[in-house]
Subunit: 224 residues, 2 copies
DNA sequence: ATCAACCTTTCAGAAACCTTTCAACAGCTC
DNA sequence: GAGCTGTTGAAAGGTTTCTGAAAGGTTGAT
């Protein structure tokens, strides 16, 4: 799960990065509007944490510009201002949730979890499909109660697909998201992992369908 | 259990370090705000002891700056001031407990224990898993009533794992938390201790599972 | 038929982890 | 101090698992 933190207070940023990383999120931080632009062009994120109360960056403008791109990324606003107006404005501009400073870490994590759930996976902190249950917190997949042994890449792939269950995910996108650092994987590598994953989950009532020319999508297995 | 003592009176600091070390805590001391910053960036602590009554350091500011980073570390305030206002202010700023000087050493230890319990271990002062019982006060582990003979490192490792029973703890984190002073242990060292610990506890209905690429987790042994 | 997209198998190299061995060291006893 | 005992972690080598390139087969569209 890849989060982008937009925060220009280095100290707070540092603490949040540290904590959230410990909770199992892949974290990236941007301290300026330009950095945000670049990162959004170059990478995909699952969620954006945006601090509005920044002295040298207009958060709302940034928010609008993110939304203008029609990126389907949930955005969680952090702000020192707690005026209702700001709140409303933020939400009108496309924020998905709102948290006023000072906030409890625990609450932040809860909101993040909540957003992920709402945007990607129904209402549980797990996403279920067929006989599979992905636990987005523990980063493991259960098949009928048993932990499904998956390698890091396989798990990553399954996570991405499940988060968009029923929707097509392009090969490029997968290659992008699975990469550890910068370089994307080759198309062939994706094919290999799709293949391996199919073998692992074939008995779980879930299947990965190929949509020629577009990508893959995961769905409950048809009684075909 | 790793404590950070923030205290600039060298004599008092020294005495506390000594006493608490004797009680089985790993102690680190910082005498200035800068030192605190650096230590918090570099290491993880389980608890912070912060002396507010410092002549050349504003403790409350420090407290606020620690809390601003949203680090989930319990903080115990020590202070010469006993005004109720200070107390309230301290707690509002994010302290988890409060102790006025002069205090009994015994009381300090009790408070530390209490905080640790509240923050990490539910309500008991022992943590049980399978046939093991960790006594967080006595710093010993019982296996079916018998004291399990463990070296310091082995005990430290087991303690960290048990405090997070069922969750994966990364090797880095273990390396970090086990270190006495500053340098983290090598990965190999962790592997060695996991190995040794496994041998010691294998007959206790508890097992340490390897989660490739992520770390280790301790759990009640499967009836496989 | 032809071509691009996709599937599948194989395999070597890499990475992560396990295990043993051993030297350095600390604490203890006599 | 000398000798003993237990602890610690570096070193080295072994094992397992993961990873993705390569190569060839299959499928579907035109």
């Amino acid at each position: 799960m890849k989060l982008l933190l937009i925060e220009d207070d280095a100290i707070l940023a540092d603490g949040l990065m540290h904590t959230l990383r410990n909770s199992g999120y892949k974290m990236t931080c941007a301290g300026s509007g330009k950095a945000v632009e670049q990162l959004l062009l170059a990478q995909d994120f699952d969620l954006i944490l945006l601090d509005l109360g920044l002295p040298d960056m207009d958060g709302l403008t940034l928010l609008r510009s993110i939304r203008r791109r029609k990126l389907p990324i949930p955005i969680l606003i952090l702000t020192a201002r707690d005026g209702i107006n700001d709140r409303i404005e933020g939400i009108e501009q496309g924020a998905d949730d709102y948290l006023s400073k000072p906030f409890e870490l625990r609450e932040l994590e809860a909101r993040i979890q909540g957003l992920i759930r709402r945007c990607y996976g129904g209402f549980a902190s797990t996403i279920a499909l067929g006989g599979l249950v992905l636990d987005t917190q523990q980063h493991q997949v259960l098949a009928e109660g048993q932990i499904l042994p998956l390698s890091a890449r396989e798990l990553g792939l399954l996570e991405i697909l499940l988060l968009q269950a029923g929707k097509v995910v392009s090969k490029d996108r997968l290659a992008q998201r699975l990469a550890q650092d910068d370089e994307a994987l080759s198309d062939n590598a994706i094919e290999i992992y799709v293949h391996r994953l199919r073998k692992r989950i074939e008995s779980c009532g879930v299947s990965i369908r190929t949509v020629r020319g577009l990508g893959y999508l995961i769905e409950a297995a048809d009684a075909t």
